[in-house]
Amino acid sequence: MRVTQGCFSFLPDLTDEQISAQVQYCLGKGWAVNIEFTDDPHPRNTFWEMWGLPMFDLRDAAGVMMELNACRKVYGDRYIRMSAFDSSHGWESVRLSFIVNRPKDEPGFRLERHEVDGRNIRYTTKSYAVDRPEGGRYGGK
């Protein structure tokens, strides 16, 4: 099941050229572009790990693409996303985020029914991927 999170996720995967153009748009707006990765695809997982430091003061997308390629070399089997942070007063938050890399095989989610208080049911979504320990979820080690 294809994970759809952030911008452009209902489109076919962006090519490097398209990613670069999006990054250039962000840089043009003065946002700092960051690279994050995770192997826990749950939509409520907000704690993605950061690749390197936030990249402030860049002028050209080539620098970000260099880091993205380095990140892909190490974590190419995981989800990688770009997030563009706007530091201007009043915003001070992420303005745009989109997935730029995903595992070859995305096993999807199951729905768990939890019976509580008599006949009541609580629902939980759980990713099949997280049944395996961190680091080995998408055919890594």
């Binding site: 390197g52 430091l53 990249m55 003061d57 860049l58 002028r59 050209d60 997308a61 080539a62 620098g63 970000v64 260099m66 880091e67």
Partner: protein, 303 residues
């Protein structure tokens, strides 16, 4: 001209190019003229920059005609004595490259060893990469590049920075232009111990020292910028000042001239303030007198 273009033929040899229009379109003529106007002397440097600009212009046209060739290597090294205008020229080069479309953004990131080399193990690579990322799409100007290499310390982190630089200079030639600058003899030693650098740099440009009359012209230009001027006597005294100052140690060309002018402004201000009852005209405030020049230490030492 357009009547001559045979639009029905697709072969590149049949296409004709109006070189003058191309030249005007990119607007490098303007930058080159500005270079001639604002930089005194530096004949070999200007010739080289003109050559590079012409090559890039032709390269641009070739690209349009789909006569493919590799992206020309644009990394440069500037060698010359202190105060010969290396940094100033680097800024101009960036703007020429930008106009011709060989760097995408045209910013200049000027760094020295401190900004590239880290303090402890594992610190250097991220630091160097951060600078490289900032310089992408523009020009990275490394001043006094030979400090990156410390021959007396094998475990110096500078070597790591050099390796990262070399790798990016080779693999991302279209994203970044690196300019190394420094004093001639020390740069030679630096290239001697890092042959990889020498071969990756296409343009070695040597900045000559200025002649006396060029230094005087520079002084005039600087004063005009600051809204000052020499009186006739001061000008004549300054010619002598230059000749004397050149023979003394630690002479650093245009930079020494700038410092000398700053000291003369001090003395002029002091002279004006000494006589509080005088009514000043704009002319008095603008002009430097011979006395302001002659009070310099340079004259007393030689007397």
């Amino acid at each position: 001209m357009s009547a001559l273009v045979d639009s029905s033929s697709g072969t590149p040899s049949a296409v004709q190019v109006d070189l003058r229009r191309e030249f005007n379109e990119v607007g490098i003529g303007e930058v080159l003229d500005q270079l001639d106007r604002e930089l005194i002397g530096l004949k070999p440097v200007k010739t080289r920059i003109r050559e590079i600009a012409s090559l890039l212009l032709i390269e641009r046209i070739r690209k349009r005609m789909s006569l493919t060739s590799d992206v020309p290597t644009l990394h440069m090294s500037f060698t010359g004595n202190p105060g010969t205008g290396k940094t100033t020229v680097a800024l101009r080069i960036a703007s020429i490259l930008h106009r011709l479309g060989f760097v995408r953004r045209g910013q200049v990131v000027s760094v020295t060893r401190d900004e590239l080399v880290g303090q402890y193990i594992g610190h250097t690579a991220p630091k160097t990469k951060e600078i490289l990322k900032k310089a992408m799409g523009g020009v990275l100007f490394i001043d006094e590049a030979y400090y990156l290499h410390r021959p007396d310390n094998e475990r110096d982190y500078g070597q790591e920075a050099i390796e990262i630089l070399l790798q990016v200079m080779e693999s991302q030639r279209e994203d970044l232009v690196v300019i190394l600058a420094g004093y001639g003899d020390r740069m030679d030693k630096f290239f001697g111990s890092n042959p990889g650098f020498r071969s990756r740099i296409a343009h070695h440009i040597d900045f000559p020292d200025y002649a006396d009359d060029e230094l005087l012209a520079i002084a005039d230009l600087m004063l005009a910028d600051m809204n000052y001027r020499f009186s006739a006597g001061a000008r004549e005294a300054f010619v002598r000042y230059i000749a004397l100052r050149k023979t003394q140690p630690l002479f650093s060309n245009a930079r020494s001239i700038r410092n000398a002018l700053d000291r003369m402004r001090l003395r002029q201000a002091n002279r004006l303030v000494a006589d509080l009852d005088r009514v000043l005209t704009a002319d008095d405030i603008m002009s430097l007198e011979a006395a302001d020049v002659l009070a310099s230490r340079v004259f007393s030492q030689n007397a």
